[in-house]
């Protein structure tokens, strides 16, 4: 049998294989370079004081305590609003929503909201929460704005998780004489919880990294105190990083890199938890 030579179609095939492999490696390499660059720049600044200190004009004495505290308080209120509303809306649209024009309209609407740039949510928050409701550039105004931003993510995740629950479970429940709400709350919702939880964690991870809408609603770049209530002004870690990045002095760049290390660790941790829950849940429940 004649050995097939590398010509024509076969050659294209092999060439493409290596080009494509190198593209894949290139994309992964950028990720590695980014991490190496940031860790090499910022790791030296990471010590106990960096977490404990207030922001300061002196880079070496600056810390992220107020930024971290602001971020956690902001997340607390964001979750408080977005979670119940998002889950209930998702359950309603999937379990109760009838296949009519209204349902279709809401579906288009949510798909659209998911694609609205975050800076536009900032404009909405600035006009509605900060000015019309007179909440000022407070923690609560920031939390409302972020809630609206992550609502579509939570709703879509809830709907997908509920869609994956097989009808046989619902029919069995109805067959036992359960009402619609009993079926939804005791059968459908618990079976979909893993998927919903995954979506929620990813939404939180998204909220943590948001910077632009908070800048637009007037979150401060310099806050030398920890917010004590929902009406206080605040800053967050990404805003602190943005502030340090835009300074000319090299020492602040080191601070920015150190802040990024903390932000990335939080983001990666949340994403790992989400992946873990997803895998575990899929293994546990097999229909």
């Amino acid at each position: 049998m004649k050995k097939r030579s590398l010509t024509g179609a076969r050659l294209t095939d092999v060439l493409f294989k290596y080009i494509a492999l190198s593209f894949t490696i290139l994309a992964l390499a950028v990720l590695v370079i980014l991490l190496v660059d940031i860790f090499s720049k910022g790791l030296g600044r990471i010590h106990w004081d960096f977490f404990r200190n207030l922001p300061s004009r002196h880079a070496e004495r600056s810390g992220i305590m107020t930024a971290l505290a602001g971020m956690l308080s902001l997340l607390f209120f964001t979750i408080l609003f977005a979670l119940p509303v998002g889950i209930m809306a998702g359950v309603y649209l999937q379990e109760y929503g009838k296949r009519n024009r209204f349902a279709k309209f809401i579906e288009i609407n949510i798909a659209n909201l998911a694609g609205v740039p975050s800076v536009i949510y900032g404009i909405l928050g600035l006009t509605f929460f900060v000015r019309i409701l007179k909440l000022g550039n407070s923690l609560i105004a920031g939390a409302f704005t972020l809630s609206l931003l992550i609502l579509p993510i939570i709703i879509v995740a809830t709907r997908e998780a509920i869609r994956a629950v097989p009808d046989s479970l619902r029919e069995a429940s109805y067959g036992m004489g359960a009402t619609k709400w009993q079926t939804t709350s005791k059968i459908v919702f618990p079976s979909a919880l893993g998927g919903i939880l995954t979506g929620i964690i990813l939404a939180i991870s998204r909220a943590i990294g948001e910077t632009a809408p908070l800048l637009v609603i007037g979150a401060l770049v310099y806050v030398p105190f920890i917010p004590e209530g929902p009406g206080d002004q605040f800053t967050t870690l990404p805003i602190q990083i943005f502030n340090w990045t835009s300074r000319p002095q090299a020492a602040f760049i080191v601070n920015a890199a150190a802040g990024i290390i903390v932000l990335l660790l939080i983001t990666f941790l949340l994403n790992s938890i989400a992946i873990y829950i997803r895998n575990k849940w899929y293994k546990k429940i097999k229909y």
Partner: protein, 291 residues
């Protein structure tokens, strides 16, 4: 019992209406302030003037420079992300072993999970200095570096959605192609990609929409000079950067400068709104072909 159920249903319906009010709120707010803006600045000037200087004493209100900066950075990002993202998707689907794909896909998705402020830092502090070694006359703030970094960021959007679309193509099509003696390359680009084209187009549209609305990367690394240029070496300002720049400054409410962010915001919103609806339409119309 029945009564309680009715109440629960009403509360849940109210929750889903929040999303409707959000959309109405966004459109109303942008429209009302933009109408006020156009009572002071003519639409003709807004659309044709080649300068955007609302914050200077010699005021011009032409959106073109901001639009130009936005389109320039988006174009650079798309030129990088579409070929790379699509080729990687084809490779993972057609060439790579399932184990390699299962390993690489989640790692690639990490790229989409990194906060954008981190990419901004990376663009300004690493990519720009690196590019300046190759292109000596590259400005410290430029469109090229944030454009490329934005491209890296949206690769996973394209790869993930395109790979899903390729995976949804029935095995029979692929097997028929191999049965005819086609190579993997021929199968991928003459059978699989055309069959998955609607999903791939959606992924590209979503990526464009994402790049248009991206804020922090360009705000940090592209500069704040509205310029009508298609030269990627120069500093430009995007619509999103301008909105952040104005809201961070101390501009009195109801001043004309304040209203400019709504006119700029509406321009951005119209672009992303049209793109999102096109992708939704394609999904409704074509996506279920093989299901």
């Amino acid at each position: 019992m029945r009564r309680k159920e009715k109440w629960i249903e009403l509360v849940m319906m109210a929750c889903s209406l929040v999303t409707v009010f959000t959309t109405i709120g966004i459109i109303l707010i942008l429209a009302i302030e933009t109408i006020k803006f156009f009572s002071e600045v003519s639409i003709g000037e807004f659309l044709t003037d080649t300068q955007w200087t609302p914050l200077f004493s010699d005021k011009h209100f032409g959106i073109l420079p901001l639009l130009c900066g936005t389109l320039l950075t988006t174009t650079i990002a798309i030129l990088l992300a579409v070929p790379l993202g699509l080729v990687i998707a084809v490779y993972l689907n057609e060439y790579a072993s399932p184990r390699f794909t299962a390993l690489v896909k989640p790692v690639l998705e990490v790229l989409a999970a990194i906060p954008t402020v981190v990419y901004g830092f990376f663009a300004l502090q690493f990519v720009t200095p690196l590019l300046q070694k190759i292109i000596p006359d590259l400005n410290g703030f430029n469109a090229l570096s944030p454009g490329l970094v934005m491209g890296i960021m949206i690769i996973p959007y394209i790869t993930s959605l395109s790979e899903d679309a390729l995976r949804a193509v029935p095995r029979s099509l692929r097997e028929a192609s191999y049965g005819m003696g086609a190579t993997r390359f021929q199968t991928a680009f003459r059978v699989m990609v055309p069959a998955a084209s609607s999903g791939i187009i959606i992924s590209v549209i979503l990526a464009i929409s994402r790049a248009l609305g991206e804020t922090m990367i360009v705000a940090i690394a592209a500069g704040q000079e509205p310029k009508l240029t298609f030269n990627p070496k120069e500093s430009v300002e995007t619509i999103t950067t301008y909105i952040v720049q104005v809201s961070m400054g101390d501009i009195p409410q109801d001043s004309l400068e304040y209203k400019t962010i709504f006119a700029a915001g509406l321009t951005l919103f119209v672009f992303t709104f049209i793109l999102n609806n096109i992708s939704f339409f394609i999904r409704q119309r074509f996506q279920n072909k093989y299901e």
